[in-house]
Structures are given as C-alpha cells and as structure tokens.
C-alpha cells in the first residue's frame, strides 16, 4: 500500500480557519484516498472527534504532525495523530549512496524528467533508507509525472498538495493518475474533489483556474463542433474520465466553434423551436467572437426568438 501524504494545510496561512472547515477538509482528503495529512501542530487543538482522545498536545514540539484515519473492527472511523519524523533533504544524485537507515523526505529534483530518472529511482530503492518519501518540486511543471513514475517504479511514499498554489505535486492529479493506472487497487472516492475544491477556495480565499486539470470548473464544457459531435454520440470519445468521477457535470456550450449539431441540441434542451437554426448559428458565432465567451442559455433564448420572429415575418410577408 502506497503512502500518500497531503501537505496542503502547511501551504497557506491557516490563522482564520475554523474548526468545522478544518475537520471537513481533513475528512474529504481521507475520502479521496490520502493516507496521511500533514498539519501544523497549532491546528491539532482544533481537530474534533473522531480524533482519538488524549492525543492532542502530544506532538506540540514538532512543527508539523501527521493525521491518519483508522477503520476500527466495528467499522467506525477513528483519527490518530503521529509525529512527523521525516527528515527533509535535498540531495544531489551522487549523494544517494550516503542515505542510511533514516526516514527521509527527498525534496527538489524538479528536473528529473529530463534525466534518466528510472535508474535514479532504482538507486534510491536499493538504498538503506528506512522510509523514503519523495516530494518533488513543481518548478518545472513536471511534479505529477515524477510522482507517478516514482510509484510505478516501486516507490512507497509520495508527498503532494491539493491544487497548484505550492511547490508540490498536485494531489488530485496524482490520485487520478493512480486510479487510471490501476482502478482495482485504488480505494479512494474522487467524486468529492469538486466539494474539496470549493472548500479549498473558501479557506484559502483563492479562486482556482477554471481549466485546472481534474478539478477545474470548466474542464467538461464542450464547444467545438467536432468534439460535441463525438461527445453526444459517446462521451468517452473526448473525455479521459467521466465528469461524475470527480463530482462535476458535462455541459455543451455555444460559441465561435459550435456546429449545427450543437445548436439543434441546445435548442431542444431549452424547449425551443429548431426553425432558422443556421441563421441562429451564424449569429452565435459572431456574438461570441465579439464577447470572447460562450452564450448563456438566457442569451440563446433571446437570440433564438429575435432570429425566429424575423424569419417567420419574412415567410408570411
């Protein structure tokens, strides 16, 4: 079983966080497949049951500690605290042989993808470390790939953080990567990711990009005629995983790249007549190019009635 450590709660100012949000956030992280949550020791006092009584305050000396989830014999859930004993190191490749009987978290190594990383992973896996956690830097935008390759090569522990406003591999990408590689052994439920994103945006006061991989609000919007055609026939054609897997929804939207099929589909969806569809499509393309955005359903209704009234008038006059 691979250990997945989430470090999100160490990445932003958590002064304002309330107890309810903190517990909710931790609960969702466990649901989606995180094994250990790293959090600042100051936060421990704000954790509520199911944390095991008596644990609070024990690890106050360390700056961070780990929260884990245990499923008891009676199927109830307990949370447990344990000290963070990982020693953070930034090693040069030539120093791998100096590793000995320690619990180590390897930092840095943002450029591994441009090297022969498999042989480096092999050296690491053959070293004498007791625990070897990898927390690759994302400065080269390759941390997810490094994390997944590490686990595929046999690595047993990886550190991540939710979303991308830190220097760790984005948690949601690593989890989805693991799920797609080996669906049977992946036990997390990623349908809570949408809820997790909303909660993250609330407690960090940061709005995430709408096209952020896995959790972006707009990643299941389809506009271009070619893709709409495929998605309406079978969504798998242009979706790597279904929107429901991550708690999101698919949406056909109208814009500059819409085709005839999209307009017919949207008119039907809005219970509108499909007369003059070609003229409506032409108008949509023009307006969206001007606006630099998609047309809302309300705008479609207005546009359709304008064009269709005009069209009917022409027929009867």
């Amino acid at each position: 079983m691979v250990t997945i450590i989430d470090r999100t709660l160490t990445t932003f100012n958590i002064d304002g966080i309330n107890s309810q949000d903190l517990n909710h956030f931790c609960g969702l992280l466990f649901t989606c497949g995180v094994t250990k949550i790293e959090l600042a020791s100051e936060l421990v006092s704000q954790l509520e049951p199911p944390t095991l009584a008596g644990d609070s305050g024990k690890y106050i000396d360390n700056s961070t500690c780990f929260l884990t989830q245990v499923i008891n014999t009676d199927q109830t859930i307990s949370w447990k605290l344990e000290p963070n004993e990982l020693i953070e190191q930034t090693l040069h490749i030539s120093q791998i042989n100096t590793i000995s009987h320690q619990k180590i978290r390897l930092m840095g190594w943002e450029d591994l993808i441009t090297r022969d990383y498999l042989s480096i992973f092999n050296q690491l896996l053959n070293s004498d470390a007791d625990t070897l956690d990898l927390c690759p830097s994302n400065q080269n935008h390759c941390a997810t790939a490094i994390a997944l390759e590490w686990i595929m090569a046999g690595g047993q522990s990886i550190s991540c953080g939710f979303a991308n406003r830190h220097d760790f591999p984005p948690l949601e990408e690593v989890l989805m990567g693991l799920k797609l590689r080996d669906p049977k052994s992946f036990s997390g439920d990623l349908s809570v990711l949408n809820e997790l994103r909303r909660l993250y945006e609330k407690i960090s006061a940061v709005k995430l990009s709408k096209m952020k991989a896995i959790i972006g609000e707009d990643i299941f919007k389809v506009e271009s005629g070619i893709h709409v055609d495929g998605v309406l026939k079978n969504p798998h054609t242009y979706e790597p995983f279904s929107p429901q897997t991550v708690g999101n929804n698919r949406e056909i939207v109208l814009g500059k790249h819409s085709g005839h099929q999209s307009v017919l589909y949207k008119l039907k969806e809005q219970n509108l007549s499909d007369s003059a569809a070609s003229s409506i499509l032409k108008q949509i393309k023009g307006r969206c190019t001007q606006l630099g955005r998609n047309l809302s359903d309300l705008e479609l209704r207005t546009l359709a009635s304008e064009v269709q009234n005009d069209y009917d008038a022409k027929i009867y006059c």
Binding site: E110, H141, C142, V222, Y238, E239, R293, N294
Partner: protein, 271 residues
C-alpha cells in the same frame, strides 16, 4: 553538454481557440500569429479553414504577415475541407485521422479499412497543389498498436513528411510515451501533441522529444480543450539548458504578456 535541437508547432490558434469561450477575431489572430513568428516558432497551426470564410480570410492575412514560420491548415479527413485549406494558402496541409477504435466506431461510425481508404483518397489533391502533407493520429494513445503501425506505414507511403502522435484525452505518462514513441520507425518525422488532463502535458512532451520526436505542439498559456494543451512557457522553463527550440524564454514571457488581453478577453476565464 550540447543541447538537443527541436522545434515548436504552436496550435494556440487552432486547438487553443477551441477551448470553450475562447474566440479571436481576424485581427487578433493575425496579431497572435505575428508574435509567434517573431518569437521563432517553427510552425503555426493557424486554424481550421473549413470553419468558413472568416477563418479563410484570417489565413490569407496570417500568411502575408508571417516571414519565417510555416502555416498549417488543420483538416478533417474530408476533401472539401482540404480544398479550403489549399485555397487559403496554407503551407502545410494537416489531415487528422481518428486512430482509436473508439473514435472510428463511435464517432465516425466507420471501419478501419474505410479510414485507410478515406485517407488515401484525400492526399492526391494535396500533392497536386504542391503542398506539404502532415498526418495526425487522433487519440493515438488509446489506439490499438497494430492499427497505429498500419497508419504510420500508410502515412509514409502517401508522402506525409511528419506524423503527429496525439494524446487527445491526456492520459499518457512519460514511461508510456517513451515505450510508444521508441517503437515508431525513424523514416518519418514525429510530432507529439499532448493534452494536460492529468497535468502531465509538459512532462510527456519532454519525454516524447527525448524519445525521438522532432516537434512538440504547444499553446500560449496552455489554452486548449478541457485542461488544455502543453504550455509553451512551461515547456521552455522545464527544458532550459537541455533543449534548444530557437525561442528565448524571456522574450516569450514578455511577448505572451502583451497578448493576455486578447487571449483572455473575458476575465472570468482566467485565474
């Protein structure tokens, strides 16, 4: 250490603009193309001429405005579309071929044999017009390898200069990418087209280039369908000192910044 020499195919104006809500006017398309040309981008995929008269006019103007880059017209496997690309002056005619059984069966509602026939019937017109032909394998990462091999053979026989290997739904990992690309014979230039659905477009592009690809597709700000395409700025950052694309990172960053208000006309899309 000597740097590897590789090339960028920018698809901001085609796959990038296909991102929901994104839409450029003719003038904006020309501005973006001129910037890419000035940066040293080797090939610019300027759009899909089959979309209509506006798109074709944009092509004609882009062709006049760019001095160095080759201009690619993107096409479905359809003779009418291809004629439009030829007529509007594109240097390279790119034909996109669905490669996975999923796309062939569910979207095209055709068979593999029909796809091969169809492709063959499209290329004569391109050679007759003395245009360079490049062929793209759509959804290659989910395709059956035997058919991929067959398509590569066909592409070579039909006189394509470049083969685009597309991870259309962004599901590859670098090691999978390496194992696929190292099996492609070397008689044809390889171009990799990576999507960012799992956040690995940059890593996969790098691995593709290290495994023999000559070209990598990318877009400004990484815009594109769903979670986007390979982000050019990120690709340059990740390959500094290793791969030379003939593009300066500093120059890209300031020029890209001047295009931000065109690309993100609607502030809501950007975060």
């Amino acid at each position: 250490m000597t740097m590897m020499q590789k090339y960028i195919v920018d698809t901001t104006l085609r796959d990038g603009e296909q991102s929901p809500g994104m839409a450029f006017s003719i003038r904006e398309k020309v501005t973006i193309a001129k910037t890419l040309d000035a940066l040293g981008v080797n090939r610019i995929e300027a759009g899909t001429p089959a979309m209509g008269r506006e798109e074709c006019r944009a092509f004609e103007k882009i062709k006049l405005a760019c001095h160095n880059a080759q201009i690619i017209g993107w096409n479905r496997m359809n003779l009418n579309d291809i004629h439009k690309s030829i007529d509007c002056g594109a240097d390279i005619i790119h034909v996109c071929v669905p490669a996975s059984d999923l796309l062939i069966r569910e979207k095209l509602r055709k068979t593999r044999a029909e796809v091969l026939d169809n492709l063959a019937s499209c290329t004569e017109a391109i050679h007759a017009a003395h245009k360079e032909l490049t062929i793209g394998l759509e959804d290659a990462s989910r395709a059956d390898w035997d058919f991929v091999v067959q398509l590569i053979e066909t592409a070579k026989n039909l006189g394509a200069t470049t083969l685009r290997f597309s991870d259309t739904v962004g599901i590859m990992s670098p090691s999978v990418c390496k194992s696929y690309l190292s099996r492609i014979p070397s008689e044809i230039d390889i171009e990799v087209h990576m999507h960012n659905d799992l956040g690995m477009a940059v890593a996969n592009s790098i691995q593709g280039l290290r495994s023999g690809a000559k070209y990598a597709d990318s877009t400004l700000f990484g815009i594109g369908e769903r979670a986007g395409n390979c982000n050019l700025e990120h690709l340059l950052i990740a390959t500094q000192g290793q791969i030379d694309f003939g593009i300066s990172l500093d120059e890209l960053q300031w020029r890209q910044n001047t295009l931000k208000s065109i690309i993100y006309k609607n502030k809501l899309l950007y975060a």
